[in-house]
Each structure stands twice: as structure tokens, then as C-alpha cells.
């Protein structure tokens, strides 16, 4: 029975047809299984995965608890039962998974299970090899299925191993680990080939990205596309790890978990210095703001509450405030499909000026760079005209020590001599040409550094940065960022990379300004 439980044929080592009794039995078993329950199974097997995710996502989001990894390896364990036993086991499996707490012992058991499983597989294969010469008649069409089964079995072992290992990592990648064991599991259950797995994955993605609150077991319907927050969440895969690192920042808010405020254009551009933390209205004088605050309720009448507006308040109880850009079609506008809310009123101001206003501040030194935010100009002026510290790879640095840190880190990179310093020799001009070439080549590298820096900070900061860089990229060419919205949506990352690499040389000054700007915001 042991062998029957593990329906597998050694086809990957011996591609030639091997016929014996054992696979025959199992394949028949499997076949019947497929024929009778395949439809039902497919649905059932997906559902638990959704439930897994939902529960998991909820627990991680609201309790900030560490993930329970043990349920993941347990599912393939159950899977073996599923093949022979009833679907009822499915629920049991899920419950088992849920009930087990994070425990080294669980991991130990996982590992020993793995060992056992591998051992079994080994035994089976030995047996097959032993029976190799005893050729029995066997339905030929069963072989592909057997092959799939054994491949899937091996895959599940591998995935199990990975997931067990990944549970050891300090930052728990629940979305990844939730999906992966199922991937291995599903084709086996369905008895289908790999292409179908891809479909399943995409199906799963939709579920994952969907609003967890609205999900029910068995609900396979694609989530509502009109929901802007869901679009926001679709970026989960892109900065999955970043999200883990900054779980407490939690900018992937579900709709309804925050309140969207949209200030008028005039309000944004008004030279106000005091802003209402609740509605964002700006005032010239603090006294007026305080008067205004009284209108928001009695709790704002004490000086203490004025001093620390809403940070203290529990996020569960009071709705967070996020801001929308009044410019229609902008990604920061609440009606945009991939709406990304702005975090603070200052973000709104800077975003609006940078993106939708003329650049009125011109650098008096280089007369080339223009800015719409005065602070950006000032940041630029700090660096404008300074020695650019250049590496042979083309990366420029505003500070010499940064350049030397870079050079000591990488093999073969040397400091590049800026030819302006001395105007002699043909070789130098040649060098210069090379440098310029390299600049455009390695601009991408430079950029990726800057984002890496931001990974450590917060997700909002990174999103802001990206947005701003996009703006910076486009602005010299008078592109309207919002027109390119759909384009971004299709494949935001490659587009950005392409533009970033070709123009980063031009905008390198802007980038530093933008970075510092976002730092201020964050």
C-alpha cells in the first residue's frame, strides 16, 4: 500500500517504456480519480489555497504576527492522501495547517518527512529498476501520466524543501511560499501538464491581489477591476520583499481603510504654511488653523491634540488620511485605475508642482535646470557646478568618498579623470568619449543603487521616488505623465528602465534633488 500511495514511475531516468504491475495499478487508480473528480478537485484545490492566503494575509496584516510556515509543507503531505482518499481530507488539511503554530519541531518533522519521502521514492525506483526486465503488458497511454505524477512528486519535494528553508528567513515571504507549494500540488491533482499550471498561477494571482475582505471560499470570480486599491495591490509582486521589510508602513491599504482627500488646485498652490492634518486645508497663520481645527470636533480643542494630530490614534479605529491629486488622469488622482495615494499634504504640494506646474525656478549657475519646487532648486544648486566625481564605469558621484567607496567595492573600476581639469593629449579626449559612452551605459546601475537605498526606508518613499523620477524623465520632453499612464500600466518596470537608462545622464542632477525631496516627505 505504501507503494500505491506514491503513484510514480521512474521515467526520467529510464525514458524507454517500462511496464510493471505497480504503476499499472496506481495509474488506473489515478485515472479513475481524474475521471471522476477532476472538475470538483480543481475547484476544491484552488479554494483552500485562496483560503490559505486570505487567512494568512489577514493575520499578517492585522496581527503583524510571524507567519506560520508549517502549514505549507503540510499540504503536500496531505496531498498524498488526497490521491487515494476523499476530498473531505482537504478541509482537514487546511485545519491542520492553520492549527499548527510556528515551531522548530514542526520543521523537524517536516524534514524527517521529507527524508522519509525521498527514501520511499528511492525504494520505489529501485524496485522499478529491479523489475525492469519483467515486461508486462501495460496500456501505453498511462506512461505520460505516470511520468507527470513522478515529476510532480519530485517537484513537491523540492518545493517543500524550499518552503521549509524559507520559513527560516527572518522576513516571511508568505505570498511566495503560499503560492509555491500549491503550484507543485496542483498539476498533480489535476493530472494536467505544466501549461495548465501557469493558468492556475495566474488565477491565483488574481485571488491574491484581490481584496481579502471580500473573498469567500469557493469564490473564483476575478476581483473587481474598478477598485483602485486593488490595482495598487497588484504591485505586490514587484516589491514583495520591500513590503515585508516595512510591514509596519503598510501602504497597501485596502479601500475603505483610509479616507481619500482631494484638495483643490488653488488650495495646493496657495502659499500656506499651516495645514489642517485632517482635511488638508492650508492657512497662512497658525492661529487660523487652530480656529479651523475646532470645527473638526471637540477633541481638537485641546493643545495636546493639536500638537500631535493623529499619529497617536489607533489606525484601526480612526481612518487614515490619504490624498488625491486634483489633476484628472494623474496616477495620483483617485479616479486613476492604478491610483497611488499621496501620503501627506506636503507630498501633494510637491507632487502637484513638480508634475502639473511650470518649472519657474531656473538654476542661476547652469541656466539649464529648471524646477517647480524651490527646495529642489536649492538642492540642485548645492551640487551644480561642483566637481562631478566620475568612475570609469560612467557612474557619477556628488562626493569623492562615495566614488572611492564604489571603486573599492568593484573590481576593475577606476576613477575617471575629468578632462576639463586639463586640456591636453588626444588620449584624454578619447577617454572622455569612452566615459560619456559608459555614462549612458551604466546609468541604470546608478539608478538601481538609489532605489536600493530607499528599500530600507519605506514603500511609500520608494513609490514617490519612482513617480518623481518618471516625472523627471519626461519633463524635459514635455511629455504628460498621465498620457503615458496606460503604457505604464502594461509594463511599468521595463518602460521605466528603458527611459531611466537613456536619460539618467541628463537627469542625474534632478535625481539627487528628487531623492532628497522624497526624504523630506518620508
Amino acid at each position: 500500500m505504501n507503494v500505491k500511495e506514491r503513484p510514480s514511475v521512474e521515467n526520467w531516468t529510464k525514458p524507454s517504456a517500462i511496464v510493471n504491475e505497480l504503476p499499472q495499478n496506481t495509474s488506473i487508480n489515478n485515472q479513475s480519480f481524474n475521471s471522476t473528480n477532476s472538475q470538483q478537485h480543481q475547484q476544491k484545490c484552488v479554494n483552500p489555497s485562496i483560503m490559505d492566503y486570505n487567512l494568512e494575509a489577514l493575520s499578517s496584516k492585522f496581527n503583524q504576527s510571524s507567519e506560520n510556515p508549517s502549514f505549507l509543507p503540510s499540504s503536500p503531505c496531505n496531498q498524498t492522501k488526497i490521491t487515494n482518499q476523499d476530498d473531505v481530507q482537504m478541509n482537514q488539511m487546511l485545519q491542520n495547517g492553520k492549527l499548527l503554530g510556528w515551531d522548530p519541531r514542526a520543521m523537524l518533522s517536516n524534514l524527517s518527512f521529507l527524508e522519509q519521502k525521498i527514501h520511499q521514492l528511492q525504494e520505489l525506483l529501485c524496485m522499478i529498476v529491479g523489475q525492469r526486465n519483467q515486461m508486462y503488458d501495460c496500456p501505453e497511454e498511462l506512461f505520460p501520466q505516470q511520468q507527470q505524477l513522478i515529476t510532480a512528486d519530485l517537484t513537491s519535494i523540492i518545493i517543500q524543501l524550499i518552503s521549509t528553508a524559507s520559513s527560516l528567513l527572518p522576513s516571511v515571504k508568505h505570498s511566495l511560499s503560499t503560492v509555491s507549494p500549491l503550484l507543485g500540488q496542483l498539476p498533480q491533482l489535476n493530472g494536467v501538464l505544466c501549461p495548465s499550471t501557469a493558468n492556475t498561477i495566474s488565477g491565483l494571482h488574481l485571488q491574491i491581489n484581490g481584496d481579502p475582505m471580500q473573498q469567500n471560499v469557493g469564490d473564483l470570480k476575478p476581483s473587481d477591476r474598478s477598485n483602485p486599491v486593488e490595482q495598487n495591490n497588484s504591485s505586490i509582486e514587484v516589491h514583495e520583499f520591500k513590503e515585508e521589510d516595512n510591514a509596519d508602513e503598510d501602504e497597501h491599504l485596502s479601500p475603505g481603510s483610509y479616507e481619500i482627500l482631494q484638495l483643490e488646485k488653488e488650495e495646493i498652490l496657495a502659499p500656506h504654511t499651516h495645514f489642517c492634518p485632517i482635511c488638508g486645508k492650508g492657512f497662512k497663520r497658525d492661529a487660523n488653523l487652530r480656529m479651523h481645527m475646532r470645527g473638526h470636533g471637540d477633541e481638537y480643542k485641546t493643545p495636546a491634540s493639536l500638537a500631535k494630530p493623529h499619529k497617536e490614534a489607533s489606525s484601526e479605529l480612526v481612518l487614515l488620511k490619504r490624498y488625491s491629486c486634483p489633476y484628472a488622469g494623474c496616477k495620483r488622482n483617485k479616479d486613476h485605475r492604478k491610483f497611488q495615494p499621496l501620503k501627506t499634504i506636503l507630498c501633494v504640494k510637491n507632487h502637484y508642482k513638480r508634475t502639473h506646474c511650470d518649472k519657474t525656478y531656473t538654476c542661476s549657475r547652469c541656466n539649464a535646470k529648471k524646477f517647480s519646487v524651490l527646495a529642489d532648486l536649492k538642492t540642485h544648486e548645492k551640487h551644480c557646478g561642483r566637481d562631478k566625481w566620475l568612475c570609469s564605469c560612467g557612474t557619477t558621484f556628488s562626493r569623492k568618498d562615495k566614488l572611492f567607496g564604489h571603486i573599492s567595492l568593484f573590481q576593475g573600476h577606476t576613477p575617471a579623470i575629468i578632462p576639463l581639469e586639463e586640456n591636453k593629449g588626444l588620449s584624454e579626449t578619447l577617454n572622455h568619449a569612452e566615459n560619456l559612452e559608459a555614462v549612458s551605459k551604466v546609468g541604470r546601475v546608478g539608478f538601481s543603487f538609489s532605489t536600493n537605498d530607499f528599500n530600507g526606508n519605506d514603500i511609500q518613499g520608494m513609490v514617490d521616488l519612482k513617480g518623481n523620477i518618471e516625472e523627471a524623465c519626461f519633463s524635459p520632453f514635455d511629455f504628460d505623465a498621465c498620457n503615458l499612464g496606460p503604457f505604464h500600466q502594461e509594463s511599468p518596470q521595463p518602460t521605466f528602465d528603458g527611459l531611466g537608462s537613456s536619460f539618467s545622464f541628463l537627469i542625474s542632477g534632478d535625481m539627487s534633488a528628487v531623492q532628497s525631496g522624497t526624504n523630506n516627505i518620508g
Binding site: K400, D401, F404, I407, S408, G412, H413, T414, P415, A416, I417, E421, E422, K424, G425, S427, E428, N431
Partner: protein
């Protein structure tokens, strides 16, 4: 036709009779290996016959050309030259470097450009590009080189030793290029490269893991680059002289010193006390030499920090304030010092020095120059315990009485170098000292108590004497010099300046010393052209001649000099009666580089100009500033472009005072 054939036959016959034809080239090469003392020896060897000429050409590995104009031809003549010393060529342009690099190619391994000018980064780029096996480059004093030149140097991937002293225009960027490019560097000297800071040095330490020797003198570095330096696995020598940016506080951060370090020079680091020193030497068990000259006071605490350095062999504390307890602690902690330098240390007393010396019996070299407090007690201890001394320098130990010097000759018989300048030593002392038969260098300047009798003992019993200094030892006369010249045939350096009793007889006697290279007889008014002529004829290797204030030397001395002293590099003719004729004849000495001609009454502007133009190898000329206006500016520009440097002096004519009153005036100055 017939005639030619006959000549060929004759040639063949001659070659058959040549015994050298029986020897293999290797054997002749071995013979040539010993012809190193005099460059002229090799020259005469190569002039013997064609085969000798070609053998000499093939044998030569090192080349030190006198004139840059000749480089293209000699570079082709010597196909196996791998080491090129261009220190005698002041003008090396990019074209010369290109010619050298093309001719030598990958064969060239070493080049010295430390005294050359007029080349740029472009020339270096050609050199480095064509000579890929360059291992050694000396670019010191190339003050005009910039980072682009450094980037060119960085292409020399096999470079192991690089000197960049005084390359002030090179910055961190250039050094960074070198650090990345020249990974095999074992030695780098960046003394006075003021543009180089922590970042450049840090990168050197990170990228060049093979570094053995690192000279960072007078660089504006701080402790930031030190951790990386101390991690260098093979670092043996570290020079941090005059690094004012390093102080105790910053050194305190260092956890572990370099384990391989053998020599540490922290001279003129006034901000580093014993605290910083102990942080820096923490774990440096191999340290053999420690130089703390002109630093913080050598106190008990500092000396205590030497306790852990068990392998220390040499300590130099020149110019430091030294306490008695500090000296005693050094005596206690250092197990086997070989070398101790306390030159110009104030605070060295009989007590401290005596204690130290009784503990350090293995001492080979002792320098107590200007330790003016010590007396015969200390000298008794020196001679008593340090019997293996080979070098004793005790200039201006004026409290040591004349009788004490007898002790030196009684006990320190292995002495090779003895500096008794400005001491009370007398003839009895000299007689005793003459027992040190290995004596090679004896300095008896301003020893007013010694006479010919004492010197005669030295002449009789110190045959190995190479250097003798009798500056202002005014009681010495011809007979003393005669004894020396007879007994010390190997004499190379003789200084008899202001010994005004000296006459031509001395010079004629010295002309027997065929190895004489340096002769200084300033202020010897009785010396005439006759004596100079004798020296010129006898001492073919003479390279440096100072006859300032020898009023009786005239053109008749210069003509034989010009004819015979073809190795003369440096001459001082000030106050002599040499005229245009003498100067012009000197101009025929092809390797003459430095000339000082102040207050030459017979010198006219025209004669000077002609001499300057004729003397193609001049690099330094000291002239009275009156000539500046008398000669056309174009002339000076032309000469400067050739690589000649002019120094203008505006001193008034001075009559010589006698040595007694000179010393009295000196002592008055010291009191005041």
C-alpha cells in the same frame, strides 16, 4: 680589392692570436661583472677591439646616460639594457620617452626619471604602453604631472616599485587610478604628494595587496586610511613622517597593528604621544626599526610602550626631548638593540645614557650628535659595554675631555665610522683611535687640538680610510696630509677646507689617491694651479671639486682639469682667479652639471655666456645676480629649456677670517 682582402686576412690572423677568443662569452661577462668601480674602465674595455666592444654592449644591463641627445644611439648600441637611469639627463621630453620605449619595448624593466623634466603624461603613456614589463619607475620631482599622467602610469600592470615623491599635482583620483591599475605594487613612495589624502591611500591599501613598503610622508592623511593600511598582509615598511593629521585620539580606534611591519617611521608626528604609538604598534611583533625623530618627548611612558616590541633592533629618536627615566626604560625593555640614534636629543645625560648602554651590549651604531650634556662618564660606558660598535657619531659633545677619547681606541676596535667633529680630541686620542684599523670614515672637523702628529698615526694604521674630514682643523699642515695620502690609498673623500696651512704639496700627495672623488679645499690660499693640475692628472675619478676662496688658483689649473677630469660633475670656483679662458676650457667636460662662479673677477659676461652655451650638460649654475642684467634674457631661457637651473646670489665679497676667531664667534652665537 687586393688591399681589402689583405686587410681582412690580417684581421683574421689577429683574431686567431687573440687569447680572448678562447674564452666563452660567459666568462668574459663574469670578468666584466667586476668592472663596476669606474665607469671609465668599461669604456676602455669596449675600446680595445670590435669583439670587446660588442661583448661590452651585450653585457650591459644598466645604463646611466649623460646626455639625452645621445639616448637614441646608445639605446640601440646596448640591446640588453633593462635598467635605465636618466638622473643625469635633465631634459627628457615625450619624444625621448617614445624613442626609448620603442627601442627597448618589453625589455625595459626599470626607469629613473627623478631628475628629469619636460616630459608629460603623454610620454609616460607611450612608455608604459610600449614597455609592458616595467617593474620600477621613479618619477619623483615631477611636480607638473597631473592625474592624467597617473592614469597613464596605471597602465603599467606589472609595476612593483613606484616613486612619486613631490608630485604635488597628483590627487586622490590619480592615485586611485594607480591603485586599481598597478595591482602588483610592492613599494610606493608618495612623499610630499600633497594632493593625496585618505581616500587615495585607502584605495591603495584596498587594491594593492602586495605592498611591502609605503611612504606617506607629509601627506594630509588622517587615521581614516590607517585600518586598511594595517590590514595589508605583507606590509614591512611604513613611513608616516610629518603626517600631522594623525593624532592619539584617532589612533586609539585601531584594534590591531600590522603583524608583518618591520620598520615604522613616525618622525615629526608631534601629535602622537606614547598613547598613539602603543595603539599603532599593538600586535606588531615583528617590528625591527622604529623612528620617532622630532616627535613627542621620550618619557618613561613612551619607552614603556616599547616593551612589547621584542624584536626591536633600531630606535631613532633624533631631536626629541629625552628624559633620564625614558632612556633607562629603553635600556630595560629592548632586548638587543643594534642601532640607537639620539642625535640632537636634549636631555641625554650621563646617567641615562650610561644605564642604557650597560644593558645594550650588542649595539653596533650609536649616534649622540650634539648631546652636549654628556661627559667622559658616558663615553667610558660606551666604550666599556659596547665593544662591537662599528659607528659612533658624537659631533659637538663638547663636555667630553680630551683624555676620554683614548678610551675609544682602547676598546672599540671594530669602529668603521667615527665622527668627532667639533670635539676636544687631541693627538693622544688620535693615536689611540688609529688602532681601529677598520676605520673607513673619520670626521675631525673643527678639532682644534689635533696636529699632523696625530693625523700621522691615522695615516699609518688606518689603511681602509675612505673619507677624511678636516674642515677647519687649522693646525693640520702638509705633513699630516702627506701621511694620510701615503697610508690611505683608498681615500675617496677629503675635506681640508680652511686648513690654511695646506699648500700644493698636500694636493700633489693626494694625487696618489687614484680613487679620490671629492676634494674640498675651500679657503686654502696657499694652494695654486699646480696642486690642482696634479690632482687632475692623478685622480681621474674626481667628480666634485670645491676650490672656493683659493685665491691663487687660476686658468692654469683649469686647463689640466678640463683635460683629465672627465668625470667632474660639480665645481665651485668662487673667489678664485679663474677667468673666461679657464671657464671655457672647463666647458669641455661633458658631464659637468653644477657650477658655482661667484665673485670671479676675471669673468666677463661674454665669457660666461660662451661657457654656459658650450657646457651642454649643466643642470645647476650659481651666479652673481649682476650677470642677470648683463646677459640677454633669451640666453637664460634657452639654457633653462635645456634643463639648467639658475640660482642667483647677491652676496657681497667677503674676506676670510681666521678659524680661531671664527670658532669664537660661533661660541658667542651659541651663548647668545
Amino acid at each position: 680589392m687586393k688591399k681589402q682582402k689583405m686587410m681582412e686576412d690580417a684581421d683574421r690572423d689577429r683574431s686567431r692570436n687573440n687569447l680572448f677568443d678562447l674564452l666563452t662569452e660567459e666568462i668574459i661577462f663574469c670578468v666584466l661583472d667586476y668592472l663596476n668601480d669606474n665607469p671609465l674602465d668599461r669604456k676602455s674595455f669596449s675600446l680595445v677591439c670590435k669583439s670587446f666592444y660588442s661583448i661590452e654592449c651585450q653585457h650591459r644591463r644598466n645604463l646611466k646616460p649623460l646626455r639625452s641627445e645621445l639616448i637614441p644611439s646608445i639605446i640601440n648600441r646596448y640591446p640588453y639594457v633593462c635598467k635605465l637611469d636618466l638622473t643625469l639627463c635633465p631634459r627628457i621630453t615625450d619624444d625621448s620617452l617614445l624613442a626609448i620605449s620603442v627601442a627597448r619595448g618589453d625589455a625595459l624593466r626599470s626607469i629613473d626619471l627623478s631628475r628629469s623634466k619636460f616630459f608629460t603624461g603623454t610620454g609616460l603613456a607611450n612608455l608604459v604602453g610600449n614597455c609592458r614589463n616595467l617593474v620600477e619607475m621613479d618619477l619623483s620631482n615631477a611636480t607638473e604631472l597631473r592625474d592624467s599622467a597617473a592614469a597613464a602610469i596605471a597602465e603599467a600592470k606589472n609595476l612593483e616599485r613606484l616613486w612619486l615623491g613631490r608630485c604635488k599635482m597628483i590627487t586622490d583620483i590619480g592615485i586611485g587610478c594607480i591603485a586599481v591599475g598597478c595591482k602588483k605594487l610592492r613599494l610606493i613612495c608618495l612623499k610630499w604628494c600633497l594632493g593625496v589624502g585618505d581616500l587615495g591611500i585607502g584605495l591603495i591599501a584596498v587594491k594593492c595587496k602586495e605592498i611591502r613598503s609605503l611612504d606617506l610622508s607629509y601627506l594630509p592623511i588622517t587615521n581614516k586610511c590607517l585600518p586598511a593600511i594595517l590590514k595589508l598582509q605583507y606590509l614591512e615598511e611604513l613611513v608616516l613622517e610629518g603626517c600631522f593629521g594623525i593624532d592619539d585620539e584617532s589612533l586609539a580606534v585601531l584594534k590591531q597593528g600590522s603583524k608583518s611591519l618591520k620598520t615604522l617611521d613616525m618622525s615629526s608626528c608631534q601629535n602622537i604621544s606614547h598613547v598613539g604609538l602603543s595603539s599603532l604598534t599593538n600586535g606588531t611583533e615583528c617590528l625591527q626599526q622604529l623612528i620617532l625623530a622630532y616627535g613627542s618627548p621620550v618619557t618613561l611612558a613612551l619607552a614603556d610602550s616599547l616593551q612589547r616590541l621584542s624584536k626591536l633592533q633600531s630606535i631613532k629618536l633624533d631631536g626629541c626631548l629625552v628624559t633620564c627615566s625614558g632612556l633607562k626604560a629603553i635600556g630595560n625593555w629592548c632586548e638587543s638593540l643594534r642601532e640607537l640614534s639620539l642625535s640632537k636629543c636634549s636631555g641625554v645625560t650621563d646617567e641615562g645614557l650610561s644605564f642604557l648602554l650597560t644593558k645594550q651590549k650588542e649595539l653596533r651604531k650609536l649616534d649622540i650628535t650634539c648631546c652636549r650634556k654628556i661627559t667622559d662618564i658616558a663615553l667610558a660606558h660606551i666604550t666599556n659595554s659596547c665593544t662591537s660598535l662599528t659607528s659612533l657619531r658624537m659631533e659637538s659633545c663638547s663636555l667630553v675631555p680630551r683624555e676620554a677619547f683614548i678610551l675609544i681606541g682602547q676598546r672599540c676596535l671594530l669602529l668603521e665610522e667615527l665622527d668627532l667633529t667639533d670635539n676636544e680630541v687631541d693627538n693622544e686620542g688620535l693615536e689611540s683611535i688609529s688602532r681601529c684599523s677598520k676605520l673607513a670614515c673619520l670626521k675631525l672637523g673643527i678639532c682644534l687640538n689635533i696636529t699632523d702628529d696625530g693625523l700621522a698615526h691615522v695615516g699609518m694604521r688606518c689603511p681602509k680610510l675612505v673619507e677624511l674630514d678636516l674642515y677647519r682643523s687649522v693646525r693640520i699642515t702638509d705633513s699630516g696630509i702627506l701621511a694620510i695620502a701615503t697610508g690611505c690609498p683608498g681615500l675617496e673623500i677629503a675635506n681640508m677646507s680652511y686648513c690654511n696651512e695646506i699648500t700644493d704639496r698636500s694636493l700633489i700627495a693626494l694625487s696618489k689617491c687614484s680613487k679620490l672623488k671629492t676634494l674640498e679645499c675651500r679657503g686654502c690660499p696657499q694652494v695654486t694651479s699646480l696642486g690642482i693640475a696634479a690632482v687632475a692628472v692623478g685622480c681621474k675619478q674626481l667628480t666634485k671639486l670645491d676650490i672656493k676662496k683659493c685665491y691663487n688658483i687660476n686658468d692654469f689649473g683649469m686647463i689640466p682639469l678640463a683635460h683629465f677630469s672627465q668625470n667632474l660633475r660639480q665645481i665651485n670656483l668662487s673667489y678664485s682667479t679663474v677667468t673666461d679662458v679657464g671657464l671655457l676650457s672647463l666647458a669641455s667636460i661633458s658631464c659637468l652639471q653644477s657650477m658655482t662662479t661667484l665673485h670671479l673677477k676675471g669673468l666677463t659676461p661674454g665669457g660666461l655666456a660662451a661657457a654656459l652655451l658650450a657646457c651642454g650638460g649643466l643642470t645647476k649654475v650659481k651666479l652673481h645676480s649682476s650677470f642677470k642684467s648683463l646677459l640677454p634674457q633669451k640666453l637664460f631661457e634657452h639654457l633653462e629649456a635645456r634643463g639648467c637651473l639658475f640660482q642667483w646670489r647677491d652676496k657681497v665679497f667677503q674676506d676670510e677670517i681666521d678659524s680661531k676667531s671664527w670658532k669664537m664667534r660661533l661660541e658667542e652665537d651659541m651663548m647668545g
